[in-house]
């Protein structure tokens, strides 16, 4: 029955982007972002109100607001490249939503790919249609719910959890967690690398260019936040160039 579904996927060959970029799609993603803003507003307001309890002055508050705003300009600019990439695959509205809330570009790309893999198609490929897109949307949404659930259930007990973890080897959790994350990325990457010349080249190029950029940004730390976006851009064009021109 599942393979019947695969053959019956409609709006393939990028046609699904018509739905993904529709005005209604914008409408359905706006409520969450409004809630994010409401939360930020409430927290700012409450923090300012509580300031006098611990001796914060109006000057402190102003400086905190300034620092927060100015600090966000650099990272904000570096979002452009990854935004455009994500938009070309998931459409403007959904990409806007996902990069405004929990979930980095990597997390969202992996979630979207997991959805596509379950449907037996390539993310954004020729067979990737509206049903596959919907699958990616569901998987991405469910993935970040993991963070929401842990937050809702455990955040207020975080102090106690922290102390319990410190009684054991806290570093081990970090180290093993990191290895699992690397393994996840490696598995998706391996899948791409065996998936054709273009993808293989893009992967290698991304690796090499990123390594170079990281080295450069050790001397010029301000460039660090642009590394991934730039490496990605360079790598995709190298891959495209080689595939199209190389024939």
């Amino acid at each position: 029955m599942d393979s019947y579904l695969l053959m019956a996927d409609t709006m393939t060959n990028k046609a699904y982007l018509d739905v993904a970029n529709s005005p209604m799609m914008w409408a359905v993603v706006i409520p969450t972002v409004i809630m994010v803003c409401i939360q930020a507003y409430i927290f700012i307001r409450d923090a300012i109100k509580a300031g006098p309890i611990v001796g914060l002055t109006k000057q402190d508050t102003k400086e905190a607001m300034r620092a927060g705003a100015i600090c966000s300009i650099g990272p904000g600019l570096s979002m452009f490249t990854v935004m455009i990439a994500l938009m070309s695959i998931l459409g403007g509205p959904f990409a806007w939503l996902r990069l405004s809330i929990i979930g980095t570009i990597t997390t969202e790309m992996l979630g979207a790919t997991a959805g596509a893999t379950a449907m037996g198609v390539d993310l954004g490929g020729l067979d990737y249609g509206i049903t596959a897109f919907s699958c990616s949307v569901w998987v991405i949404t469910l993935n970040t719910w993991g963070f929401f659930i842990v937050n809702l259930l455990f955040a207020h007990k975080m102090e106690k959890v922290k102390m319990a973890v410190e009684r054991h080897d806290a570093h081990m959790f970090d180290a093993v967690g990191l290895c699992v994350m690397i393994g996840c990325v490696a598995m998706f990457l391996a899948g791409q690398m065996v998936g054709g010349t273009g993808k293989f080249i893009a992967a290698i190029a991304g690796f090499v260019i990123m390594t170079i950029l990281v080295r450069i940004s050790e001397k010029y730390p301000k460039l660090k936040e642009y590394n991934l976006g730039l490496a990605m851009l360079a790598a995709i064009f190298i891959a495209q160039f080689v595939v199209q021109i190389g024939g």
Binding site: S72, A118, S134, C135, W138, V165, L178, C179, V194
Partner: protein, 226 residues
């Protein structure tokens, strides 16, 4: 100007007048926003009639949750000492913690001379993180608007290059990990390539990769400690 110098009194007031309310409001706003994240999926399904079978959604979810499960727990725990509880609530809804929220918090703490991990540090950090939500959102929105326009005028040669986004980004991400994990990264990558090519059923491949990562990671950590 408050002249409460008694630390116990300050702690008590802070807890009652700020922390308790903050936790309630943080949880409520997070819950509402989390529920709202389902709207796009529900819209595609209920309004337009597009939805894969629950079994397919489950398979996709199983692939991603097998690796992220441990991260859901480990990551917030790692950020909590620096972010404070308020920072965790905003950070785990608005996201972008290491790239935007953390720098904003630290910058505010430095600017006001408040130490991280203190109540003053938590408050100025929270104010800064809150501001970063608005500023960062403005840029992401700008990127969305210009991005749509840009994608529309770009020639197909360039637009279709974005089909290579996933391997390009993952190659870059692995490069970042490789810097500090020169043994594990090539090892697990080789294993994953073998797994991808192996004649295993696809439902077995991802969990195998994750389990192997878990055990190899554990083994490497323990052997380093010796």
């Amino acid at each position: 100007m408050s002249n409460v110098h008694n630390t116990e009194d300050v702690d008590k007031r802070f807890h009652e007048e700020y922390t308790v309310k903050m936790i309630k409001r943080g949880r409520l706003t997070t819950l509402i926003a989390a529920l709202l994240t389902f709207i796009p999926a529900l819209y595609l399904w209920l309004a337009l009639g597009y939805k894969p079978s629950w079994s397919l959604i489950g398979q996709g979810w199983a692939i991603i949750v097998s690796s992220y499960l441990i991260i859901y727990f480990v990551e917030p725990l790692g950020f909590y000492p620096v972010m404070g509880l308020s920072g965790i609530y905003i950070g785990y809804l608005a996201g972008n913690i290491p790239s935007v929220r953390l720098p904003a918090m630290i910058s505010a703490q430095v600017a006001t001379g408040c130490e991280a991990g203190t109540k003053r540090g938590e408050l100025v950090g929270t104010i800064a993180i809150g501001m970063s939500v608005f500023v960062n959102l403005a840029f992401v929105t700008l990127a969305a608007i210009t991005g749509v326009a840009i994608l529309n005028v770009l020639p197909p040669f360039i637009v279709s290059a974005f089909d290579y986004t996933l391997p390009a980004i993952l190659g870059g991400v692995i490069a970042q990990y490789f810097k500090k994990n020169k043994v594990f990264v090539p090892l697990i990558l080789a294993i994953c390539v073998v797994l991808q090519k192996a004649p295993l059923p696809s439902v077995a491949k991802f969990p195998s990769a994750i389990l192997l990562s878990f055990f190899i990671g554990y083994f490497l950590y323990k052997s380093k400690k010796k």
